[in-house]
Amino acid sequence: MNLINSSILIADVEIGTHYYWNVGELVFHGQVFIVSWVVIGLLLLFSLLGASNPKRIPESWQNFMEATVEFTQDIARNQIGENAYKSWLPFVSTLFLFIFGCNWAGAIIPWKLILLPEGELAAPTNDINTTVALALLTSSAYFYAGLRKKGLGYFKRYLEPTPILLPINILEDFTKPLSLSFRLFGNVLADELTISVLVLLVPLVIPLPIMGLGIFAGSVQALIFSTLAAAYIHEALE
């Protein structure tokens, strides 16, 4: 009985409970901020280590960071195209690295060891506010891309291929951020839920493959989010 109780304690999922910070009238979800600051700090640290002492023949950290940047460069170039991808590379790379860092931070770092008065530390992407913010950033990015390239002529795209499709084209602008945010949020939360339920049933060894799957799914979701963001930007630039 004691064993069951302790496994329930380990597997305890807290959905809908948050570590609230009150700043004036505003309420923040503190646990999301703490973990995303850790992720941002790690990303900054890696970039500083990679760029602090650049050499012609890259070594260790510089080598690693160059490979990473080349990977994200491929995402942007494959979607946006050789001509225009350079100015959108920072945005797409940042999206990829931040989401990837968040997913892996939630999957790898044992946050359960740190107790909060309320709620629990986990991947920042398992809070829908984070993913909606990232999706809305993507929306404004592709609007900005289209408007800067074509001016008001950008809105002609809504009448193509025929004006009958106007409502569907407008609807698409709403479904894009909706599906982007739900996809990321749902996948990350689903992984954590599956792991919690499995830990509740069998606390040892059995959840390990699912944890591995969670790590894999986290990287695929980061890849998908940044690929789709780049594809939407390309669509607006066309």
Binding site: G186, L189, A217, V220, I224, T227
Partner: protein, 82 residues
């Protein structure tokens, strides 16, 4: 919570994620089958096929995840309570 709303929400959550799994299941099966066929025919492009397959599988999986999000909303953030 009103017990009828609670019962309906739990049943609805189960149905939503269950039905959302049907379509993507069929789709993923078809996609994986075609990918295996492609690899069998041309083993030299296996890496390319695998990458495309994983990306499209994740897209299909997202459809089930939408059902899961609806189920989670019904269970943990039910808008019909109170």
């Amino acid at each position: 919570m009103d017990s009828i709303i609670a019962a309906a929400s739990v049943i609805g959550a189960g149905i939503s994620v269950g039905f959302a799994a049907i379509g993507p299941g069929i789709g993923q099966g078809t996609a994986a089958g075609q990918a295996v066929e492609g690899i069998a025919r041309q083993p030299e492009v296996e890496n390319k096929i695998r990458g495309t397959l994983l990306l499209s599988l994740a897209f299909m999986e997202a459809l089930t995840i939408y059902g899961l999000v609806v189920a989670l909303a019904l269970l943990f953030a039910n808008p019909f309570v109170g």
